[in-house]
Symmetry: C2
Subunit: 218 residues, 2 copies
């Protein structure tokens, strides 16, 4: 039976990027469907009735929601010969811990959207502290799990698509603050799965600028 | 080699309860160490330098932090004959989705700590809506995963220890709002692993009352 794999996505979403990278790492063909978030499709509302958010992965009619849950599902379903999560339970726990940390602590959008200069500096400082912790975890390894690109890399690398916007809109230069993380991001970008899944940084800049202006008007 | 399993805990924490239930479900002997959160131990600060929070599981010297990461670690490390997570990838994703949902959406503490009557009613309403979604997922099954007590049950049942305090302090009767969830909680409480891991509801009431008063003074 031919597999049907659909991904409901919205191109600037770092969460959607995670799902696309994981699918491409595993060599899974999928039908990418762009959502209009101001007019969500009946399929999105029906497959993610709880959060009504992208990304949603629909595999042979069965939906999976929440990006980290999706990446783990992809890892458990396809390509066991190239796992994203390590096999050792303690290393797996460590990878899950850092992915969870990102979702709880990193919010680059807050830097751009900060209503005052003071709030912006505070949001910048908080993000830098958290990125430095991630840099400490990376250390001198090629990837977070060691020599192989894996779960933590998939989960974090989408931020690369926002670096240009952050530097231009908020004078936030990640390359200066976290040089090891910057070298890691460059390394990840050389992978086809990543390069193909991250949008043009200039397009992300335009999107973030328009979004910030819209919020200011509101 | 004898195993060394230490759990750093604070008795009213629902997150600590998850770890205790999972360890007891798997029949793991562990050294339970109560933390004084106003004077955290060097071991806590050293094993969870990022969040500095309990619970921390330390297995043969290696720490694991964050309750859902800990429960998955326990499941992958001990007792493969009695798994907490289902074996089917889609069912696993579903279980992870609902555990994540709880952590994002359920906050019973907010009901008790609400500064005004209006804020309390709003917090109550939000929690009820989320608990009703969980009840919908439970449906007529004995446990969230079907006939077997598992990951979602471990993650959610700690709220049972707060029902008495909620009813007394905030007139929030979960049994009336969600009868199926109430029957499920009663079923879970019959398990030794759960009964032994949840504190006396009256003690939790005293703790929540004292904490609320302290916050009001501040």
């Amino acid at each position: 039976m031919a597999e049907e794999v659909i991904l409901l996505d919205f191109w600037p979403s770092p969460f959607g990027m995670r799902a696309k990278i994981a699918l491409r790492e595993k060599g899974v063909d999928f039908d990418l469907r762009e959502e209009d978030l101001s007019n969500k499709s009946p399929l999105l509302l029906q497959t993610n009735p709880v959060h009504k958010k992208i990304p949603v992965l629909i595999h042979n009619g069965k939906p999976v929601c929440e990006s980290l849950v999706i990446v783990q599902y992809i890892d458990e379903t396809w390509g066991p010969e190239s796992p994203l999560l390590p096999s050792d339970p303690h290393e797996r726990a460590r990878a899950r811990f850092w992915a969870d940390f990102m979702d709880k602590k990193i919010s680059l959008g807050r830097v751009v959207r900060a209503p005052t200069e003071e709030a912006r500096e505070a949001a910048k400082e908080e993000n830098i502290q958290c990125l430095k912790m991630l840099e400490g975890e990376l250390g001198d390894k090629a990837y977070f799990g060691g020599e192989r690109f894996g779960y933590v890399d998939v989960s974090l690398i989408p931020i690369h698509s926002r670096f240009y916007a952050l530097e231009t809109l908020a004078n936030f230069n990640i390359w200066e603050e976290c040089p090891k993380l910057a070298a890691w991001a460059k390394r990840c970008m050389q992978r086809e799965s990543v390069a193909k899944s991250l949008p043009d940084p200039h397009k992300v800049y335009d999107y973030m600028l328009a979004r910030t202006k819209k919020l200011q008007v509101q």
